[in-house]
C-alpha cells in the first residue's frame, strides 16, 4: 500500500509576481483516495495543471509511476494514464453522450488518417468500444442518455460523465477538480460513493480537489491542505479538520 503512484517534489509555479505554487511536496499512494483542499486561490487547480502538463513548473519535479512527467504535453500525460476533470466541466457539445465516451480510448485504428476512410479496418474495434461504453454508461445510471446531447444532462450527470469516461481507458490516476461543486448534497454523496466503489473494485487512484468538506471528509483516507501555494497541513481527515492552522486559513480566506 505504501507505494506512491504520484510524487510532487518541491513544485513551484509563478505567474509573474503571483506565486500560485511555492514549493509543494506531496505524494499519492497507489489505490488511494486523497483529498486536496484549501481556500480559493490557494493553488489547487494550478497543481493539477502542472501535474497534467498544462503548465511547466517554474521549479520542481513531478513523477508518475517512477517516471518523470513534468514538461510533457497534456496529451502525453494522458497517455501515461492520468485523467483529469475540470472545475468547469468540458464535455464536447457537438457529440452525443456515447460519442463523448468513445472519444477517450487512445490510438484508435479509425483515428489514423489513412485508415479513417477504410471502415472495414476499424469497424470491429469501434463496435467493441461502443459495447463497452454502453455497459459503462448503464453501470453508472446514464443508460437512458446514450444518444442524448450533453446539453440535456444535469450538472451532476455531466460531472459523472466527465469522470467515468476515463474508465474506457487504462487510466490509473484520476484528478478530479471539484466533482461535487454545484451538485445537490445527495447527488454529491452518490458521486463520491461511485468514486469509492471504483477505487475498491478497480484499484484506481483518486486525487480530488473539493470545497465541500462535509462530503469529501467522509470518503477520503488522506488530505493535503494548500494555502497561498504552500502545503499548510496534511493527514487523516479527522486530524486535518481539527488542525488550528487549517481552520484559521479557511476562516481567514
Amino acid at each position: 500500500m505504501a507505494e506512491p503512484i504520484l510524487e510532487v517534489k518541491d513544485v513551484a509555479k509563478y505567474f509573474g509576481g503571483v506565486r500560485a505554487l511555492d514549493g509543494v511536496t506531496l505524494s499519492v499512494q497507489k489505490g488511494g483516495l486523497i483529498g486536496l483542499i484549501g481556500p480559493n486561490g490557494s493553488g489547487k487547480t494550478t497543481l493539477f495543471n502542472v501535474i497534467t502538463g498544462f503548465y511547466v513548473p517554474t521549479r520542481g519535479e513531478v513523477w508518475f509511476e517512477g517516471e518523470r512527467i513534468d514538461g510533457l504535453n497534456p496529451n502525453e500525460v494522458y497517455l501515461k494514464g492520468i485523467v483529469r476533470t475540470f472545475q468547469i466541466p468540458r464535455l464536447f457539445p457537438s457529440l452525443t453522450v456515447l460519442e463523448n465516451v468513445l472519444l477517450t480510448p487512445p490510438n484508435q485504428i479509425g483515428e489514423k488518417p489513412l485508415y479513417a476512410v477504410l471502415r472495414s479496418r476499424w469497424e470491429k474495434q469501434e463496435k467493441e468500444l461502443a459495447k463497452k461504453a454502453v455497459k459503462l454508461l448503464r453501470r453508472f445510471g446514464l443508460g437512458r442518455y446514450i444518444h442524448a446531447n450533453v446539453s440535456e444532462l444535469s450538472a451532476a450527470h455531466i460531472k459523472l460523465l466527465e469522470t467515468i469516461r476515463g474508465l474506457m481507458t487504462n487510466a490509473k490516476l484520476y484528478l478530479l477538480d471539484e466533482p461535487a461543486a454545484g451538485v445537490a448534497y445527495d447527488m454529491a454523496k452518490e458521486m463520491f460513493s461511485f468514486v469509492k466503489r471504483l477505487r475498491d473494485e478497480e484499484g484506481l487512484t483518486f486525487f480530488i480537489i473539493e470545497h465541500r468538506l462535509e462530503v469529501l471528509m467522509e470518503f477520503v483516507d488522506y488530505v493535503y491542505v494548500l494555502h497561498n501555494g504552500k502545503l499548510l497541513a496534511e493527514g487523516k481527515p479527522d486530524e486535518v479538520v481539527q488542525n488550528k492552522a487549517v481552520i484559521e486559513a479557511y476562516l481567514g480566506g
Binding site: R84, S94, L98, V117
Partner: protein
C-alpha cells in the same frame, strides 16, 4: 436543348472546382474549426504546378526549348491540329493525371509545413499566416519571369481537345471533373464519419479538452490541413485545364472568401451543404455570364456587379430563414450505433 447542353458542359467543371474547394474548406472550418483565410494559395499551387509541368514536358516532347511564356511555346503547343497537345494525346492526358497526383501531394505538403508551426501558437495565427502566404505566392508569380510574370502562361487547353469535336471533348472534361468531385465528396464523407471525424468535432468544440484526452491536436490539425490543401491543389489543376492558361491575378484573396461564402451558405460541417453552396454560387455566376453574353450592352447594371448583388441577396435570405445554412451540421455516424442496438436488443 443544344443550348442547355452547352450550358451544363461549361458549368460542370466550375461547379466541380468550387465544390472541391468548398469541401476542403469545410473539412477545415466546418469539422475541425480551423479558419483558413488562404485557401487560394493551395489552389494556385495546383494551377501553376500543372501548367508548368505539362507545358515543359510537352515542349520537350516536340523538341522545342523555348521559354514557357514565349509565343513560340504557345504555337508549338496549341496550334490546332499540329500543336503538341493535338499530336501527343496520350502524353497530354497522362500529364493531366500526373498533375492531379502531384498537385495533391505538393499542395498538401506545403500546407502541412506552413501550418504545423503556427498551430501551436494559436488559432488566429493560422488564418493570417496562410492569407499572407497566398499573397506572397501571387506577388512572387507576378514577378517571376520563367512562369510568365503578370501575363501568366498560355498554350494549354482541355485535356481531350485532340478528339476534335469540341462538345465531346468538353463534355468528357466535364464528366472527369464531376467524377473527381464525387470521389472527393465520398472520401470526405467517409473521413468525417469515423473515429477520426469524432476527434475533429471534439477539437472544434474544445481543443484544450481534446488535448487532455490524449489527442495530438497539432498533428491532427496539420493532417487535415494536408488533405484539404491537397484537394485545393487538385481543384487548381482542373482550373488550368479548363481555362487553358494561368494568370497570377486569378488567385486574389477574395477567391478564398467566395469559398467561405459557399460553405456558410451551404452549411458548416455538412459536406452535402458545401456542395449545394458551391452549386448555387456557380450556377448564379454561369447564368449571369450567359445572360450577359446574350443581352450585351442592353444590361443597365454591369453583370459583374449584378452577380455579387444576387449572391449577396441569396446569402442574406438563406441566413435569415436558415441561419445554419441550407444544410445544418450533420451528426457524425459510425457503426457504434449498430453496436448499441445489438447490446440493447441482447439485454
Amino acid at each position: 436543348m443544344e443550348f442547355l447542353i452547352n450550358f451544363i458542359i461549361s458549368w460542370l467543371p466550375i461547379f466541380a472546382i468550387y465544390g472541391i474547394l468548398s469541401i476542403s474548406l469545410n473539412l477545415e472550418i466546418g469539422y475541425t474549426g480551423m479558419a483558413n483565410f488562404g485557401k487560394v494559395a493551395f489552389y494556385a499551387i495546383g494551377a501553376y504546378l500543372s501548367a508548368a509541368l505539362t507545358m515543359s514536358v510537352m515542349l520537350s516532347l516536340v523538341g522545342k526549348s523555348v521559354p514557357l511564356y514565349s509565343i513560340e511555346a504557345v504555337q508549338a503547343l496549341s496550334t490546332p491540329g499540329t500543336g503538341a497537345i493535338y499530336t501527343h494525346p496520350a502524353a497530354y492526358v497522362g500529364l493531366f493525371v500526373l498533375s492531379l497526383v502531384l498537385a495533391f501531394i505538393v499542395a498538401g505538403v506545403v500546407g502541412y509545413f506552413i501550418t504545423y508551426p503556427t498551430l501551436r501558437v494559436g488559432p488566429a495565427f493560422l488564418g493570417i499566416t496562410v492569407l499572407a502566404f497566398g499573397e506572397m505566392f501571387r506577388v512572387f508569380m507576378r514577378n517571376y519571369e520563367p512562369l510568365g510574370s503578370t501575363k501568366g502562361l498560355f498554350g494549354l487547353n482541355n485535356p481531350f481537345i485532340w478528339i476534335g469535336n469540341p462538345q465531346l471533348s468538353q463534355g468528357l472534361f466535364a464528366l472527369v471533373s464531376l467524377a473527381l468531385l464525387l470521389a472527393i465528396y465520398i472520401y470526405a464523407e467517409r473521413f468525417v464519419n469515423s473515429p477520426l471525424g469524432r476527434t475533429l468535432r471534439a477539437i472544434k468544440d474544445d481543443e484544450v479538452a481534446a488535448l487532455c484526452l490524449g489527442k495530438h491536436v497539432p498533428r491532427v490539425k496539420a493532417t487535415v490541413f494536408f488533405i484539404a490543401s491537397g484537394m485545393a491543389g487538385v481543384a487548381g489543376v482542373l482550373w488550368t485545364f479548363y481555362q487553358g492558361s494561368v494568370q497570377p491575378d486569378t488567385f486574389v484573396p477574395i477567391l478564398t472568401f467566395y469559398v467561405w461564402a459557399m460553405v456558410i451558405l451551404g452549411g458548416m460541417g455538412n459536406n452535402l451543404g458545401a456542395l449545394l453552396g458551391a452549386a448555387v454560387f456557380t450556377l448564379v455566376d454561369r447564368v449571369l455570364t450567359f445572360a450577359a453574353g446574350m443581352m450585351g450592352p442592353s444590361l443597365i447594371i454591369p453583370p459583374n456587379y449584378l452577380r455579387w448583388m444576387i449572391v449577396g441577396i441569396v446569402i442574406v435570405l438563406v441566413l435569415l430563414f436558415r441561419p445554419e445554412g441550407i444544410r445544418p451540421a450533420k451528426p457524425i455516424k459510425t457503426p457504434a450505433w449498430e453496436a448499441v442496438k445489438e447490446v440493447s436488443e441482447g439485454g
